[in-house]
Assembly symmetry: C2
Homo-oligomer: 138 residues x 2
């Protein structure tokens, strides 16, 4: 299960993408509309800014807005940024790899299965962007 932080990050990005008209959007507005604790959201948006996904403007008329285009921000990137590894085991993570103790990975049935899960997950998350999840209307 994703941490609250990651869930909030996705929801905030969706909201920002949906209201994106060049104008900065208040943290407080996002927090209220998407039911996210204000101070927690401040932290999350700050991380997204430091990573170059968002940018912000201070003072009156300030707020947050996209630095990259929503069509260019893959969900996998956000996951790795806020949540950390996408894989279920450290020893099968591409970006956060850690070796297993007492387990020869080439002969480990568990890590082989978890590699399958990782690949299936990445196939989806690397090909969906923030724009994809923001503009769906079924």
């Amino acid at each position: 299960m994703l941490s609250m932080k990651t869930q909030y990050a996705f929801k905030a990005l969706m909201y920002l993408a949906q209201k994106d008209n060049g104008e900065p959007i208040l943290i407080a507005e996002i927090a209220e509309k998407k039911n996210i604790p204000l101070k927690f959201l401040e932290n999350i948006l700050l991380e997204l800014k430091k990573a170059g996904v968002l940018d912000s403007k201070k003072g009156k008329g300030g707020g947050y807005f996209f630095n990259q285009r929503p069509t260019d921000v893959r969900l996998a990137k956000i996951m790795r940024l806020i949540e950390g590894p996408i894989a279920l085991l450290p020893c099968v993570s591409l970006n956060f790899y850690q070796k297993c103790k007492n387990c020869d990975e080439r002969h480990c049935g568990l890590s082989n299965v978890m590699k399958e899960v990782r690949d299936a997950t990445l196939l989806i998350l690397e090909n969906k962007t923030v724009a994809d999840i923001a503009f769906i209307n079924i």
Copy 2:
């Protein structure tokens, strides 16, 4: 990422399946061979016993052994038992469903993507058993 508890559970089950000859196996032996904190492992094996996956015998010659056949224990079952939900969001979980606040799930792009991830993951975890990950030899 899976919690340590779940990772340990899988490793312990693999070890038990590999050494399965009807004889009980000591918690201490599993803990030592698989590098798992002893007292932590006791808790994990107890949960697996209460769920009917394992059984145990006390006293000399005691230890843990399978109650169900390893070929009948699906990985998804262990995940749900120890880790909880397999889905990445509460609102797309089959067994631990919780409704989203401020989000109409039928029109939510995020939950649609996370459903895809869930289905892809389940397709793998529901079709692999403890026996599958224990007896692989590539």
